[in-house]
């Protein structure tokens, strides 16, 4: 395995995911397989190659800074799993 279960666990925390024990075992094997496949990229010498993050060479697309209509608060909150009509509600963030 090119990736250990400990690494997968760490990545799952970074990714804000929870994995069951079964998922951890499957994920470790599957991620290792894909990472091994991807490792073929290391065959290529890319020392002088400029990375390509995007297909279009666009820089600084500006728009006029104008006040425009935006969503009503009720619309913005309409899909919230938990809201009080004014704010999104989440579990307490501060200590007791």
């Amino acid at each position: 395995m090119s990736i250990s279960p400990e690494q997968v666990l760490k990545v799952s925390r970074l990714a804000r995911l929870e994995l069951s024990d079964d998922e951890l075992a499957t994920m470790t094997a599957q991620l290792s397989q894909v990472v091994d496949y991807v490792d073929q990229l290391s065959e290529l010498n890319t020392d002088d190659v400029v990375p390509m993050a995007h297909a279009l060479d666009l820089t600084n697309v500006f728009v006029v800074d104008q006040v425009a209509e935006s969503l009503e608060r009720s619309q913005a909150l309409a899909n919230a799993p938990h809201a009080d009509g004014e704010c999104y509600l989440v579990p307490a963030v501060m200590g007791d």
Binding site: I3, L17, V34, L41, M52, V63, P81, V90
Partner: protein, 515 residues
């Protein structure tokens, strides 16, 4: 001749002459959906009442002699990855099962402006991640040509509904082949436009530098009609290209003289099904008979496309899907049960004096994020988020993400060099015809390898089109044409030439005639 036998362009003529109405067309679509979709599973949502009401309004305006849009009265299906105001937009995910967008995607707005009738939302792999539409949280889509086979993916519903005669015009999205591969497997014509040709505003993001919205239909003419209605610059998508769209339909009947086709040598390496190879070679013979020059060409880095893609796409996905946090919209876990469990975990750790366990214990908010995402996402989405998070994490970023961006440049340079010598690249869409449902579900890497011939177009940002060019054991085979960025008109004219000379695109699955 029934409505069912007509293409969208032919239906437009019937509508204009008053020989049919939008209501009749819409009812014909709904009847076909009623007859077959319980077997095919192409739609996640059919907007029966809304579609009929829209059709009535368009018919009334036509009767009153008012000017109408370019799709006036034609039913269109939309992949469930595009936001439709007030209508479910699930992305095939439990995460968005109850999500009703407060706004329309630009493409959906343009369909309305063109006076299309939005008939419903089509099934897809969850968040467009997959090549078989089996990753939908709600249902698998079955191939209308053979119901025990997949329709391809991720736009499997979008392709299957056209193949099954439920609708003539369909909108999909393509990040690594998700329009072209299901189009090939279902025997329809599908176009992935150049990156930036069609607005991504309101398209639920998977991999933002690769995603592109595009049309599927039975003929290149109908694809041109639909592309013309949705393409063009959109100030709300800063990555949409600020250049006018071409007159795709008006130009389509002009044959291309002296067309230079390049056959990609690397596409005929091991792994290509012999029947697919034969059909592609036969298609080349057709093009030669139409006056095209065919030469062999090399894309030396094409064998690295899948590896490059499966670093870049998951990396972008892991970032894009961070928004599903159970707070603003989407699924949230049962908060009370989660808090109760967390408290008892804390109490156990405290009783045991486990300082490290306590330090590592999630806060309530983080546990809420993690549990909501664990319950709301399916296995493939989790796999991609994990892969992307790994590739972007400290110590691996240079080796994976940065490396992949560099190889992406090499892949683009291969295309630039090829298009100096030829007008279009031609080859297979997928290594095999449609595979059986369940055949690859336990083998993620094999599923990824079905993107072998398609992913590079997304990485390079070029346009790609799939059109039917043969069959094997009753399953359709697709031919892929690729063009330089923004040469969609050339691509469609070449596809139209082929369809004037062959009738693969006119073949219908047996299921269609059983209604």
């Amino acid at each position: 001749m029934s409505l069912f036998d007509l293409t969208a362009c032919e239906q437009l003529a019937e509508l204009a002459s008053g020989r049919t109405t939008s209501v009749e067309l819409t009812q014909a679509c709904l009847a076909q959906i009623d007859a077959h979709d319980s077997q095919v599973g192409a739609f996640l949502h059919v907007d029966r009442a809304g579609a009929l009401a829209a059709a009535e309004r368009i018919d009334a305006r036509r009767q009153a002699g008012q000017a109408l849009g370019q799709l006036a009265g034609l039913p269109v299906a939309v992949k469930d990855v595009l936001c439709t105001q007030g209508m479910p937009t699930t992305c095939g995910s439990r995460m968005l099962e109850h999500f009703r967008p407060p706004y329309n995607a630009t493409v959906v707005d343009r369909l309305h402006t063109a006076d299309a009738v939005l008939i419903g939302k089509t099934n897809m792999d969850e968040f467009a991640m997959g090549g078989s539409t089996e990753n939908s949280a709600f249902q698998a889509t079955h191939n209308p040509w053979a119901l025990d086979h997949t329709a391809g993916g991720s736009s499997g519903g979008a392709a299957a509904c056209v193949a099954a005669g439920m609708v003539n015009l369909s909108i999909g999205s393509d990040t690594g082949g998700s329009i072209r591969q299901p189009a090939a497997h279902c025997g329809v014509t599908g176009l992935k436009p150049s990156y930036g040709r069609v607005s991504r505003y309101g398209l639920v993001a998977f991999a933002s530098s690769l995603d592109q919205v595009g049309p599927l239909a039975r003929t290149a003419e109908d694809v041109a009609l639909l592309l013309g209605a949705v393409a063009g610059h959109d100030p709300r998508d800063s990555t949409s290209a600020n250049r006018p769209a071409d007159e795709y339909l008006a130009q389509i009947a002009q044959p291309l003289t002296g067309l230079r086709l390049g056959v990609v040598r690397e596409h005929f390496a091991e792994g290509l099904d012999p029947a697919v190879q034969r059909s592609v070679r036969e298609a080349l013979t057709v093009y030669k008979s139409l006056g095209a020059q065919v030469s062999e060409i090399s894309l030396p880095h094409s064998k690295y496309a899948v590896a490059t893609y499966y670093v870049i796409a998951p990396s972008e996905a892991s970032s894009n899907l961070a928004r599903y946090d159970g707070v603003h919209y989407g699924y949230r876990t049962d908060e009370q049960a989660m808090l109760t469990e967390l408290e008892s975990q804390r109490a156990r750790l405290e009783a045991a004096g486990d300082e490290q366990g306590l330090a590592e214990l999630d806060s309530a908010l983080v546990r809420m994020y993690r549990r909501s995402r664990a319950e709301g996402f399916g296995p493939e989405v989790k796999r991609r988020i994990m892969l992307g998070t790994y590739a972007l994490s400290a110590g691996y970023y240079d080796a994976y993400y940065l490396k992949a961006l560099k190889v992406r440049r090499l892949i683009r340079q291969d295309y630039d060099a090829a298009f100096r010598d030829v007008d279009l690249l031609v080859g297979p869409v997928s290594p095999t015809p449609a595979f059986r449902l369940g055949e690859l579900t336990d083998d993620p890497l094999s599923m990824y390898l079905v993107d072998l011939y398609t992913a590079s177009a997304n990485l390079a940002g070029v346009a790609g089109l799939s059109l039917p060019c043969g069959q094997s054991n009753g399953l359709p085979i697709g031919l892929q044409l690729q063009a330089p960025p923004f040469a969609e008109a050339r691509l469609l004219r070449a596809a139209h030439m082929f369809q004037q000379a062959t009738d693969w695109h006119a073949q219908r699955p047996a299921l269609c005639s059983s209604s």
